[in-house]
Each structure stands twice: as structure tokens, then as C-alpha cells.
């Protein structure tokens, strides 16, 4: 199991916690700055780290990144299990240290009362035995990958001695987080296991635990690193294909339809006649020079309705030459 160092043994990086023993005391205007909805301890803690850096340039944890992870409370087998989604960590971020912060209450009064009022066992000489130790608690950490329903792999367990009064505690869980990330299991669960018989169904507490990961982002010195994490708007409006995607990439939602030529393309030009406008000094060709092949005799002009039908029939018969009416032919001959 993972023997966590006592509170004061946490490395300097996790400092700034000393004052957090009393979660009610929000330092400075940090909580105010973070808005009413962010009274939770993690936001206050992060703001304290930010202020320390801004004032003294003290790099948090010796790196350039601190990520916080709020807990999501679920009740599994009548026990409170807190889940942490660590997937927002970036590959370029090397973990320097990870700490688990939780608010532990003193042993609950009914329990303490029971211990105090219960007739004490006596030894042979009739002297009462010393009170048994208060119920010990254990912190169990498991990791699981995103889409598994199992309880996950046990990554570590810590024995906790109940504090004399309610206070925030921090435990170094670096080996647990590093091992879980190495195995690609970025969903971590923390369960506070106490030997109490009926710990009672946990209720969401304003003092939910949280995890801080101190890291060094190796990509932060890249020229445009600020854009990777802070530039959120998409310069390409939604629905347009990704700039780098090939036009016919499968990601493109639009269905590509080729324009099938159903027949010879319709145009008004006479077959085989040069479209260029005649130049002023161009010689006058005799008509049979223009049309090497003997020109077919014209048919009488059908009425509009059956012309359309005719046109379709003509198309259907896929004739290669278009029929023109007399007027067009005269104009063409003149041209």
C-alpha cells in the first residue's frame, strides 16, 4: 500500500495549503474572483497558486502547469466513491507531482458518544481498559479506462487516522497517477473506506475532494502554445470541412454527386462549325467548305408541345446532331 507522508511532509510544491485547513476561510478575494458558483475549495486553492506565481514568480511545483480535477460523487454499494476524469491532461505534460486533497471530519459524535457511554470492559483487576482506537479509515484508489464497467484496478490504499477536528488533508498520490496514466487508465476513483458499521449514505458535501497535478508542459515553449489551450473559437465556421482534410475525405458530411452527362451536352452551336466570330477580312467560305459532311435535310418545325416531346425523343434516341429550325439555319448560313 502507499504510505502517504503526513500532512507537513508534502513537498513545497503543494504549499499554500497550510492556510487551507479551514475551508471556510477563503483567502483574499479568490473565491469572490471566481464567482459565487466557484466557492469550492479547488477553485480557491488554484487561485492561491495563481496569486503566488503572479506576485513572486514562484513556479507551481517547479513546472509550468497545474491541473485541478474536481470529483464526481457516485454511491457504489452504499459507499461514497469519487471519480476523477484525468483525460484533459495533454501528452506533452510530464507529471511532476499529484496530490489528493480531502476534508476529513473528526469521528462523528454519535459514534464518540457510544464509545464514551458504553460500559467499559474491565480487566481482571477491575480497572477499565483504555478506550479502543477510533475507527480507522482507508483511502482506496482505483483506475479504470473510460469505457469499462469494472470497479477498476486497485492502485493504492492509505490508512488514515481521524483528525482531532475537521480539516483539509493532502496526500501525495504521484505514483498512483503516473502508473494509471502510463497504463492509459485516465479515470481514477477514490473511496473513503471506514471500519464504521453504518457510515450512512454519503451526501454531496461542499468539501468534495479534488486532485491537483503539477506538470511541466514540454510544448509550452512552442511558438504558438497559447493557441493550443486558449484559442477555442474555430476559424472555420461549423460544417466546413477541416482545412487540412482532403475535399473528398469521409469526414466531409456532404454527399459528392458527379454530374452524369445524360446525353451530348446541349449547346446552341452548330456541330462542326468554328465558334470564333468571323474576322472582318476573313475570306468567305462557300457553304459546302464549312460543312464537310453533306448536311441533312431539315424537317418541318413541330408544334411547341410535341417539340418538347420530340426533343426528349431525340435525346432518348441519343442522336448526335441537334435539329435546328429554318430561321436558325438561315442565320447560320448567312454567318
Amino acid at each position: 500500500s502507499h504510505r502517504a507522508p503526513a500532512w507537513s511532509a508534502l513537498p513545497a510544491a503543494a504549499d499554500g495549503l497550510q492556510g487551507d485547513r479551514d475551508p471556510q476561510r477563503a483567502p483574499g478575494d479568490a473565491a469572490a474572483t471566481l464567482g459565487p458558483g466557484a466557492q469550492d475549495m479547488v477553485a480557491v486553492h488554484m487561485h492561491r497558486l495563481y496569486e503566488k506565481y503572479s506576485r513572486r514568480g514562484a513556479r507551481p511545483g517547479g513546472g509550468n502547469t497545474v491541473r485541478s480535477f474536481r470529483a464526481r460523487l457516485e454511491v457504489v454499494d452504499q459507499k461514497a466513491v469519487y471519480f476523477f476524469n484525468l483525460t484533459s491532461m495533454q501528452d506533452s505534460e510530464t507529471i511532476l507531482m499529484a496530490t489528493f486533497h480531502f476534508y476529513s471530519e473528526p469521528p462523528r459524535w454519535p459514534r464518540a458518544l457510544e464509545v464514551l457511554c458504553k460500559p467499559r470492559a474491565k480487566n481482571a483487576s477491575g480497572r477499565s481498559l483504555p478506550l479502543g482506537p477510533p475507527a480507522r479509515q482507508h483511502l482506496l484508489f482505483r483506475s479504470l479506462s473510460q469505457n469499462t464497467a469494472t470497479q477498476g484496478l486497485l492502485r493504492g490504499a492509505m490508512a488514515l487516522s481521524p483528525p482531532p477536528r475537521g480539516l483539509w488533508q493532502a496526500k501525495d498520490i504521484s505514483p498512483i497517477v503516473k502508473a494509471a496514466r502510463r497504463d492509459g487508465e485516465l479515470l481514477l476513483s477514490a473511496q473513503l473506506d471506514s471500519e464504521e458499521r453504518d457510515p450512512g449514505v454519503p451526501r454531496p458535501s461542499p468539501y468534495a475532494p479534488y486532485i491537483l497535478v503539477y506538470a511541466n508542459d514540454l510544448a509550452i515553449s512552442e511558438p504558438n502554445s497559447v493557441a493550443v489551450t486558449l484559442q477555442r473559437y474555430d476559424p472555420f465556421p461549423a460544417g466546413d470541412p477541416e482545412p487540412h482534410a482532403a475535399p473528398n475525405s469521409s469526414a466531409d458530411p456532404r454527399v459528392r454527386r458527379a454530374a452524369q452527362a445524360t446525353g451530348p451536352l446541349q449547346d446552341n452551336e452548330l456541330p462542326g462549325l468554328d465558334e470564333r466570330p468571323p474576322r472582318a477580312h476573313a475570306q468567305h467560305f462557300h457553304k459546302h467548305q464549312l460543312w464537310p459532311s453533306p448536311f441533312r435535310a431539315l424537317k418541318p418545325r413541330p408544334g411547341r408541345k410535341d417539340r418538347r416531346k420530340k426533343g426528349q425523343e431525340v435525346f432518348m434516341a441519343s442522336s448526335q446532331v441537334l435539329d435546328f429550325d429554318e430561321k436558325t439555319m438561315q442565320k447560320a448560313r448567312r454567318k
Partner: protein, 110 residues
């Protein structure tokens, strides 16, 4: 603005994250003094613009006109400062990152 010096130097610029639409996810700071560099790197360049050796040579070549079309050196940031930014990531977790080269300390001709 108009009485700014002609020579390459640092000019004041305050960036408000609300102006660039990033204030929705940036908790702190709301704005910061970024500054920028502007001004001429004309021959002869004064010491104050701290030209690199290459910039000195380039400005001489340009002044002599040996090779047509050579521009004068550029006035760019020389020393820069980092900025710590507290923001919400996509899962709305609070993140602190210290970005380098976010504000200009000195300018120079390069």
C-alpha cells in the same frame, strides 16, 4: 501615438481578454500589459536598438544599395516575459499555465 519616437522601440499595449473573446474561460488575469515593438531600423542604427550583427550588415548593404530590394531590418521583441493564466479547460476544471513570451520587455532590430 503621434509623438511616439521614430526609432525602433517598445510601445504600450494593454490586452483585455474580453476584447479577443477569451474571457469566457480565462479566470485571471482579465487583462495584461503586452506592449509591442514598432519603429525604424534605419542606417546608421543607434546603439539603443541593439542591432544584431546581421542586422548591422543588412542595413549597410541596403544603405549602399549594392543589392536592390533589400529591406531595412525589422523592429521585433528582444526580451519577453511569461504570464501565468488561470483558465477553465474543456471539462471546466481550473488550470494554471505559465506561458512564456507573452509580453515585451525590450525591442531590437533583427
Amino acid at each position: 501615438q503621434w509623438d511616439e519616437p521614430r526609432v525602433c522601440s517598445r510601445r504600450y499595449l494593454k490586452v483585455d481578454f474580453a476584447d479577443i473573446g477569451w474571457n469566457e474561460w480565462i479566470i485571471s488575469p482579465k487583462s495584461f500589459d503586452a506592449y509591442y515593438c514598432a519603429g525604424a531600423c534605419e542606417f546608421p542604427m543607434p546603439k539603443i536598438v541593439r542591432p544584431s550583427n546581421h542586422a548591422t550588415i543588412q542595413s549597410i548593404v541596403r544603405a549602399v544599395g549594392i543589392v536592390p530590394g533589400i529591406p531595412e531590418p525589422c523592429c521585433v521583441p528582444d526580451k519577453m516575459n511569461s504570464l501565468g493564466v488561470l483558465f477553465l479547460d474543456e471539462n471546466r476544471n481550473v488550470v494554471l499555465k505559465v506561458y512564456p513570451n507573452m509580453s515585451v520587455d525590450t525591442c531590437a532590430c533583427r
